[in-house]
Structure formats: structure tokens, C-alpha cells
Amino acid sequence: MSAAADHPPLEEQIGQWRAYLRRRRAITGPDVEELEAHLRDQVGALIQAGLAEDEAFLIAVKRLGSLDALSREFAREHSERLWKQLVMAPDGDAAPATATRIETLVMLALAAAAAVAIKIPGLFGLELVDRNGPFYARNASLFVLPFVTAYFVWKRRMAPRHWVWLAVAFVAAAVVVNTFPFARGTTGPSHTEALCALHLPIALGLVVGIAYVGGRWFEGGGRMNFVRFSGELFIYYVLIALGGGVLTAFTIMMFEAIGMKAEWIAQQWLIPCGAMGAVIVGSWLVEAKQSVIENMAPVLTRLFTPLFTIVLLVFLATMAWTRRPIDIQRNVLIAFDLLLVVVVGLVLYAASARDPEAPPNLFDRLQLLLIVSALVVDTVALFAIASRISEFGFTPNRVAALGENLILLVNLAWSAWLYAAFLRGRGAFRALEAWQTAYLPVYATWAALVVVLFPPLFRYV
């Protein structure tokens, strides 16, 4: 009998069994302890009856029942456990309560700071009214992103010699967008000013990203984690905004009931301060819940990839069948840019949730089909636009939209190539993931160029 020597000692076996049990969502810590006490009693009794340790262990485990059946029974009794709760006060083995409390306080302070920041210009005569719209549009991201960055600088414990560069980036951005002598039209911001307002958040997104990964942009899966974070933040922000809308509606309605107009509270305080603070609260929520709740962005990606593919294919087929040319309107380029943004987003967030080691599956084929059909649609549109671009002239909007289109087109074309290689078994999925994450700074760089170079190039029109 040499078998006994081959088996790990009892404690190790029980440890493994406990680890398996812990992974079941319906069975929590105290249940595991209760079942373990039972297992040990049973093993003890069997050993006393003359069995060897490993035999006793095997029989005791078998008598407890299969883990699947057991966790099913526990789930039936404790169905609430299948709904993971976002824990504000974590239990047991999570972070100690004081650390969580400090983080909550830091988050609240930063959210309050962002909410106050948007009111500060008001003290200097720049009230939050229509006539100051261009100022607030240019600076919108500067009221909130520095605080998000500060949160991650604090959370990742970045050294001052690292984060000082992030601060420099924000200061530089603030100086640039507020010293450019934009042309003052009668109707809202000038073209280059609007471009600045649109592109600054994208450029500064990279600064937030660098803080998010704690300054280690090129290490490990940091960049992909930032992608996951951004997708979840977007979803949380939309949810918070919906709640904020309900709160605003109730505020106005209730004061209306006692004959008071509360619109100004909503317009001057509730909405602007809430919109700023919610970004910080959202960031904190995403951080707090990342290990607790399934990511939503990839789920939405799975849902919409087939739908977008169908729409694109139907569109292509209709265009080929009816031979209708693309009607080149003013905004058609922007519309196709947005289409590519959506497709890149679908590819990016699908990649963020995919196990890179898994073999190709049907969803990967669908993604390739989506990319290819988007490429075809966009190429058709680009040809139509190119043939008439001289007619339109190179306005700042058109150059920016064209540049974005090319950047997205390059991304998707190479993604399609990598996907095809992966599907034919000639490449790894990691190559696609690496391509997508390596491409992130390109967006930010282009956005920065638009912010810094376009206004002087186009004489601030």
C-alpha cells in the first residue's frame, strides 16, 4: 500500500475543499465554516472507525453531497445572495473598514470640490448664463477631470515628481483654451472654439488614464483596465444622471406646489454641480464595485454587435440595390465618424472582456463582419466626400472630421487584419488587444493637436 503516501495530508485536502466551496456564490463564509465543522466531525468519526485519513476524507466529502447540488440548495434558500450587493461596509476579508471610510471621505471631498469649482467663475462675474456659454463649454472638463485625476493620484499613491506632470498638463490646457483670441460671433462660440470644447476632454482623458494606472501606462494590463473603467464610468454616469433628472423634476414640482419658482435652483446649482460631482462619485463607484458586479459595458457590446452588424449590412445591400448615392450634406462626415466611433467602441469593449487565451468563436466572426461592413460603408462615404471636398473647402470642422475618420479607419482596418489572422489561427488575440490599447494615445494626441493647433491655423474662426 503505497497509495497513502501519494495523497496530500488531510489539512491540505480540507483546505482545497474549502477553497472550492468559497467560490460558490450562494455559500458564504459562515456556511463554509459550518460545513467544514461537519466535515471534520465526520472524518474524525470515520478515522476512529478504522479508516485511513484519505479514505475518511473521500467518504466524508461524498456524504456531504456534490458541490453543485449543495450550492443549488443553498441558492434556493438564500436567493438574495445571487444578487451581489455593492457593499458600502465590506465584510470579513475585504479591505478594513477604516480604509473604506477614508476613501469615501476623500471621494466626497473631491466631489464637493468639483461641484464648488464650477460655481467659482460666477464669483468673478462669469455667471452660468447663456452669454457665458462658450467659456463654460471650453472649460467644462477642467472643472472636473483634475479632481478625478486627484482621486486616482491619491488612490494609487503616485509620487509628487510623477503627478506634477499631470498638473502641468491641466494648467497648460487651461492657459491655452482661455488665452486664444477666439473670434466672437453673434451666435455662440466660433468653429475652432467649439472644436476645442469637444476635443479637450478627449485629450485630458489620457491624463486621467495615466493617473488611473498610477503612472505605469505601459505595464501589465493597466491600459485595458482603464478602458474597462471608462466604459463602466459612462454607464454609471448615465444612471446617476437619470436619478438626478428625477430629483430635479421633483424639486421643481414641489416648490411649484407652494407657488415658488425653483427652476433657477435646478439650472444654477442642482444640474451643474450635480453633473460635476457625479463624475467623481461614478469613478469611485466603478472602483468600489469592480470585483463585486459583472461589468456592464461588455454585456451591452454583446447585445449591440449583432444589431449594428445587421443594420450596416442591410444599409449596404439597400445602397447597392437602389444605387442611391450618399447625399453629401454638411454633417454627413460627422455622422460617419460617429459610426466608426461606435464600431471601435464595440471592438474595444468586446476585447476588454474577452479571455485572450480562448479559441475563436462565433462572436469573433461577428465582430470581424461588423468591422468589415463598417469599413465598406465608411470607404463609400469617404469617396463620395473626397470627390467634392474642393467644392466645400477646408473648414476647421471638415479637417477635424476628416482626420478623425482616417484615424478610426486605420484602427479598424488593422483590427480587421488582426481579427482575420486570429480567426484563421495565424495570430493570437493578444495582438488585437495590444493594438487597441497601443492606439489609445493616438486619439488623445490628435485631440490635443486639434485643441492647440487648429485655432491659430484657422485664425480663430
Binding site: E33, E34, R63, E73
Partner: protein, 112 residues
């Protein structure tokens, strides 16, 4: 003899309540007692006892407490509550009705 899943499940509640009526106990000891009482005929999958205990606790029929046993290991002890005692009495009446009904027909149905 195999009693079938439904019968085992149906008898679990009165059996556990009755065993706890003898005094407080814990999972492993309850299983052992079931084995003794049924002379080995009632074979439970051991783990399934715990969801039953948790359900009874949720309904307030038993109460639990973590305590160190004589061997120093922590165990969760269960005891019957007042509601549990009332429920045990009701269960007993139900099972007696079933038992009496079956008894009246057994002789005629299978006269072996």
C-alpha cells in the same frame, strides 16, 4: 430501502424539529441522530441538512448560536424556539393524520 426524494424532504422538517426538541444540537449530531432513529433507513445527503436548518431559522422556528465545542472547534448550535415548538406540535398532528389514514387502509390494500 430507498425512501424516495420527496418523502425524505417532507419528513426533514418534523424530524429536525423533533430532534432539536430533545435539546440543542449541531448539524453533524443531528445527522447522526437521524441515522440512529431510522436505523439507517433514512439516508440524507449530509450537506442538504444545512439549507433546511437555515430555512427553519429564517422562519423563526429555530435559533442558532456559534460556540466553541469541548474540542475547541467552533460549531453552530441550533435550538428550538417557542414558535418551533408550536410548529412541531402542528407537524405531529399532520403526520398522525397521514399515518392513521394509511393505517386504516393498509390491512385491506396489501393483506400480506
Amino acid at each position: 430501502m430507498d425512501l424516495g426524494k420527496d418523502l425524505v424532504a417532507a419528513s426533514a422538517t418534523p424530524l429536525v424539529l423533533a430532534i432539536l426538541a430533545e435539546g440543542e444540537s449541531y448539524g453533524y449530531a443531528i445527522i447522526k441522530r437521524v441515522g440512529e432513529l431510522s436505523k439507517g433507513h433514512l439516508q440524507w445527503t449530509d450537506g442538504m441538512l444545512y439549507p433546511v436548518l437555515h430555512r427553519l431559522e429564517r422562519h423563526g422556528l429555530v435559533a442558532s448560536q456559534w460556540r466553541s465545542s469541548e474540542t475547541g472547534r467552533r460549531r453552530k448550535y441550533y435550538r428550538l424556539t417557542k414558535e418551533g415548538r408550536t410548529e412541531l406540535e402542528a407537524e405531529r398532528k399532520r403526520w398522525q393524520i397521514v399515518d392513521a389514514t394509511l393505517n386504516r387502509i393498509w390491512m385491506r390494500a396489501c393483506p400480506a
